[in-house]
């Protein structure tokens, strides 16, 4: 039958479809312009700009303390790590040594943020491929972390807990107990995640061999984070350029070589275990001391260019500050992980079906405000 149609003189044309900006699987206001032939994808063009708030330009107006709260609104799922990136850059530029206590607390909350982000990703990704239950289970466990944040930082998502020179206030007396409770609770939940989703035969067939990204391509597209590590590219910033208290802990970099959607999924599940182990190593020995060092009320960076990168839940976030010695940066640039990871979507989706595009996108773990800023 098929051969008859292919050999006949019937003309076939590609057609264009808009996926988004309000499609639930794009997790925000991302618009994808798909060129498709039947159900086979021939081209994916991401169209950005729907949630552009010119954060980089606003940073040029703000003082260095005020910049921190804007980074909450970029990759809102790893807001603490974004805050930390800006604070580390400013502290490096001022050559300010923060107390050990600050470093340890920053690392613990950073890893909790990573787990919370991966919990949400796990739930939403399950929902993208058709498993609604995962959504509720992921949010159930994330809720415990949000309570820890709310009690200590005062907010659940946009925490703004870091300031240049330390932390805004000390941790809450309940913080250690709540974190230990969470670690004990979550250790019983990741095996449940595996039972519910990872081993499921439908899920396996949706994921295995879909959206394959080779190691060479991951490097040339500038991929980072779990996306690159799923292709066997070892690029964990925490390992290679460790910051805060990460040099005091031992952990393994989650690495897979298959490069398909399932590999990226497994890397993130593995990362949750590693984050739990980092928290366990630090939570019992938070050093005593001050929660911040005094800085000038008006922070003026020395003239020059400063760069610092950190590993957010999505990959490598770089903060570049060009200072002319005034109280505002002359130029501030964020190298966001989502932007580079989005750029390879066309590469991994071409030739697949629309349903596979949703699965590939889910494992890229895109956060649109991070891409658009």
């Amino acid at each position: 039958m098929d051969t008859n149609i292919a050999n006949s003189n019937l003309k076939s044309e590609d057609y264009f479809i808009n996926m988004g900006p309000q499609h639930p699987a794009t997790h925000g206001v991302l618009r994808l312009l798909l060129t498709i032939d039947g159900e086979i994808i021939k081209k994916v063009e991401p169209d950005l700009g729907y949630i552009h708030r010119s954060i980089e330009k606003m940073c040029e107006r703000d003082s260095y303390q005020q910049i921190v709260h804007l980074t909450d609104r970029m990759d809102y799922l790893s807001s603490h790590i974004n805050n930390e990136a800006v604070c580390l850059t400013v502290e490096n530029a001022l050559q300010l040594e923060v107390p050990e206590r600050v470093k340890v607390i920053r690392t613990i909350i950073g890893e909790l943020t990573r787990i919370a982000s991966h919990c949400l990703w796990w739930g939403v990704m399950g929902m993208d491929v058709g498993a609604l239950t995962t959504y509720f289970y992921g949010f159930r466990d994330r809720e415990m972390i949000n309570d820890i944040f709310e009690e200590t930082c005062g907010a659940r998502l946009t925490m703004n807990y870091n300031i240049p020179g330390g932390l805004m206030f000390d941790i809450h007396p309940n913080f250690v107990k709540r974190t230990k409770d969470f670690v004990a609770h979550f250790k019983t939940k990741i095996p449940e995640y595996d039972k519910l989703l990872t081993g499921n035969v439908i899920f396996q067939k949706r994921m295995k061999g879909v959206g394959i990204l080779s190691k060479e391509d991951a490097i040339s597209f500038g991929a980072s984070g779990p996306v690159a590590r799923g292709s066997g590219y070892s690029c964990d910033v925490r390992k290679y350029h460790s910051y805060s208290a990460l040099d005091k802990v031992t952990f393994n970099e989650a690495l897979k070589t298959e490069g398909d959607s399932l590999a990226r999924y497994e890397v993130r599940i593995q990362e949750m275990w590693e984050s739990l182990s980092i928290i366990e190593q630090l939570i019992d020995n938070i050093p005593e001391g001050e929660h911040k060092v005094a800085t000038n009320a008006v922070i003026k960076l020395p003239k020059g260019e400063f760069y610092q990168k950190v590993e957010t839940a999505r990959g490598e976030l770089g903060v570049f500050i060009n200072s002319t010695g005034t109280k505002n940066p002359y130029r501030l640039k964020f190298r966001s992980p989502g932007f580079s990871n989005l750029s390879l979507l066309n590469h991994i989706a071409v030739g697949g079906k629309i349903g596979d595009l949703v699965a590939s996108m889910a494992t890229l773990d895109l956060v649109i405000p991070d891409i658009d800023r």
């Binding site: 921190v68 709260h69 804007l70 239950t133 159930r140 709310e150 081993g199 035969v201």
Partner: protein, 158 residues
């Protein structure tokens, strides 16, 4: 794999997943995180550090501790705080002193970053824990934090 092998594997993974959901279903008293909002308004207490909105506490004599130094206004990233002040004669010393006329707070613009409260040298403004901030008109979100007729507490200096 054989046809029947596929069926067997499919049913097995289905049952494995259902054993997890079944456990949660039967045991939902311990696992439930759902809150019966708004029926639990009386029992729902936010954490002490929760950032609901900025308030200015007054004592029973209708006195606050805001000196009008404007540090919160400078610290605010987006102009949510405006302070209207003038120099009035201080009844104690008889000298002219900077005093606030109105401490205007735009809740609708506030990003809850907390920089104003960190900047305040006299703890004149604090976080309140209310979480139901929706109103019918957005002009109701612009608030004057100092009460009418209030004055500065004696003895408070920057």
């Amino acid at each position: 794999m054989s046809y029947f092998g596929d069926i067997y594997k499919g049913i097995k993974t289905l049952l494995t997943g259902m054993s997890v959901t079944g456990k949660v279903f039967l045991n939902n008293k311990n696992n439930s995180i759902t809150q019966q909002y708004p029926d639990n308004r009386e029992t729902l207490k936010m954490f002490n550090r929760f950032r609901g909105e900025v308030v200015m506490p007054h004592n029973e004599k209708n006195e606050h501790t805001c000196t009008g130094c404007q540090k919160c206004e400078i610290a605010c990233p987006n102009g949510s705080i405006e302070i209207i002040w003038d120099r009035q004669i201080d009844p104690e010393s008889g000298k002219k002193k900077k005093m606030i006329d109105q401490h205007i707070y735009h809740l609708g613009m506030c990003t809850m970053c907390g920089l104003c409260i960190e900047a305040c040298p006299t703890d004149a403004i604090l976080w309140a824990q209310n979480y139901e901030n929706s109103v019918y008109d957005r002009s109701a979100l612009t608030k004057v934090l100092n009460q009418p007729g209030s004055k500065i507490m004696p003895g408070v200096e920057d």
